[in-house]
Symmetry: C2
Subunit: 329 residues, 2 copies
């Protein structure tokens, strides 16, 4: 059995400073083992020290049989809605603190970038790659700009040219009386956000414009996209005036992106493998958050429809290809 | 092989009158065979005469091997956002015209009701049942009120008591720059709407409060719900403070509702059958609209993972149970 790689985990730096902005994400450290992420005065999420403590992460990885973790930002810190200068400052602090979390070679840092400013995003990515980051996590949209926005495409082209893997995470979900309860923004909003952004890549012609070498992975199994591929395929053929705007039908673009495995259900994982392809599904857990998989990797390990080779591909082989060769000096 | 029943089709009455309200749905009849649904001055959708011509519908049913059609309103006419008195007037006109469309016993009319006014909705349902309607189609929400709204639950209790099948259709999807293109409201918004409303039935405690005898079916395979059952199940257990609010975990409520089969993909249909249950998936096509299945029933007929008995259940047996005995005098 090869290495086991979890491509979807998050961190929050325990030493996150108070930037002094009234509505910036803040961290209230309540004890050695607990902290609270605050948005303004709103308690957004209680987190544990495994968000920032490398020793704890490594111990939990050992317990779950995980060799490597991709360690990505927690999206609430993206700050795409702020003036670019502020988002640049947030990214720099956050990305530099990530290197203090990722003290082991088993912890692979992915940076965040000020996506609302493509030039600044490319510059921050380059700075991070030089300092030890291995990839980048981006939110699936920046305000009303989806992944087919010209600036975002410019950034993705830069990632392809620099041979850097991109992990796309949903965030900034719509709220309202029907959605602000039962974590509906996470349970319904997130899968819909990612579904929409994969459509933006396909129907917005992004895959038509980007080199095939871009390595891009969507969180949470790619949202609801795979389950609804048939619906968009049918619409592409039957409403060419409105939907048939990409060069090829949507199914043509399978193989151009990967998804993680955080779907919690064998039937859903099977649909993913059968639709997106066994070479394009990678272990991801959403560790260390409660909506993540625990124990990490159990869904793949218990999947009776996978061969041993398939299982090894999903657990780590696909991720090692996605990550590419190490960059650290 | 038993009867083949398509539980998800729509109609628009060719004789729809201009109500004289500036933003009410209007019908511009362009020829004997074509009309345009207008919302204000906006051309919403071009439709053909198979929306209102019984002879055409029956001929197309014969061509596709369909014996019975449930004929439901086109949601853009629901008018839940209008004052109740106006919605009552729309429903009466629409429902009475439906009986002129459903001139054959092979066409089974489902009425619409002014869901924003539960008493009026119950009264209109009763009036329609007496005049020949067999069931009711409701939108999945009325403004900010989802299916767990007290008034909607009152209406659903009335349906259970009256032994009337309920078909839930998504509508009134959120728009915006990211969604007002490529029919994204239909491709992403509709599956998310239905997903959210099934969660409202489960996590909002509606199934806990309603009698098990209620027969309710959700359009488009129940939206993205079945694919994400594992995610909500995990959240229910791991965030009992926010998500674990129903009496039982979400999977407990499987069997309390049915879904139609309009998912266009064998892998998706298989997930539906394996998750929602072979007795709770029913042929639906979204006929006669282009985002529907054509030929009607091909996905089920070609499904190699179904036994002959399963196939007969999906094609019609489940629907006959859902419809219950005829009511016509």
């Amino acid at each position: 059995m090869g290495e086991v790689v979890d491509v979807h985990t998050h961190y929050v730096p325990g030493g996150w400073p108070d930037l002094g902005w009234p509505d910036a994400p803040r961290l209230r450290v309540d004890s050695e083992r607990e902290a609270m992420i605050l948005l303004g005065d709103h308690e957004f999420r209680r987190i544990g020290s495994n968000c920032w403590d490398a020793g704890e992460r490594l111990a939990e990885m050992d317990a779950d049989g995980v060799d490597l973790q991709v360690v990505s930002p927690t999206p609430v810190f993206f700050s795409y809605e702020r003036p670019a200068a502020e988002a640049i400052r947030v990214a720099k602090i956050f990305n530099d603190l990530a290197l203090e979390v990722c003290t082991s070679e088993r912890l692979i840092p992915f940076c965040q970038v000020p996506l609302q400013d493509p030039d600044a995003a490319c510059a921050e990515l380059d700075r991070c790659l030089a300092s030890g980051h291995r990839g980048v996590e981006i939110g699936n949209h920046a305000g009303d700009r989806d992944l087919d926005d010209e600036g975002v495409v410019q950034f993705l082209k830069h990632c392809a040219a620099a041979d850097v893997p991109v992990f796309v995470h949903p965030w900034d979900m719509a709220g309202g009386p029907r959605l602000d309860r039962w974590m509906a923004q996470w349970l319904v909003g997130m899968p819909a956000e990612t579904h929409l952004s994969i459509l933006a890549m396909i129907l917005g012609g992004v895959f038509d414009r980007l080199p095939e070498s871009l390595r891009i992975c969507f969180a949470h199994g790619g949202g609801s996209f795979a389950f609804w591929l048939g619906r968009v395929e049918n619409a592409w053929h039957r409403r060419p005036d409105l939907v048939g705007v990409s060069e090829h039908p949507p199914s043509h673009y399978l193989g151009r992106f990967a998804v993680d495995s955080v779907v919690f259900d064998q039937r859903a994982l099977r649909l993913l493998v059968d639709t997106v392809g066994v070479d394009h599904v990678m272990l991801g857990s959403d560790y260390p958050y409660p909506l993540g998989e625990s124990p990490v990797g159990s869904l793949i390990r218990e999947a009776t429809f996978l061969t041993d080779d398939d299982r090894a591909a999903l657990l780590g082989g696909n991720a090692l290809r996605f990550l590419g060769p190490p960059r650290r000096p």
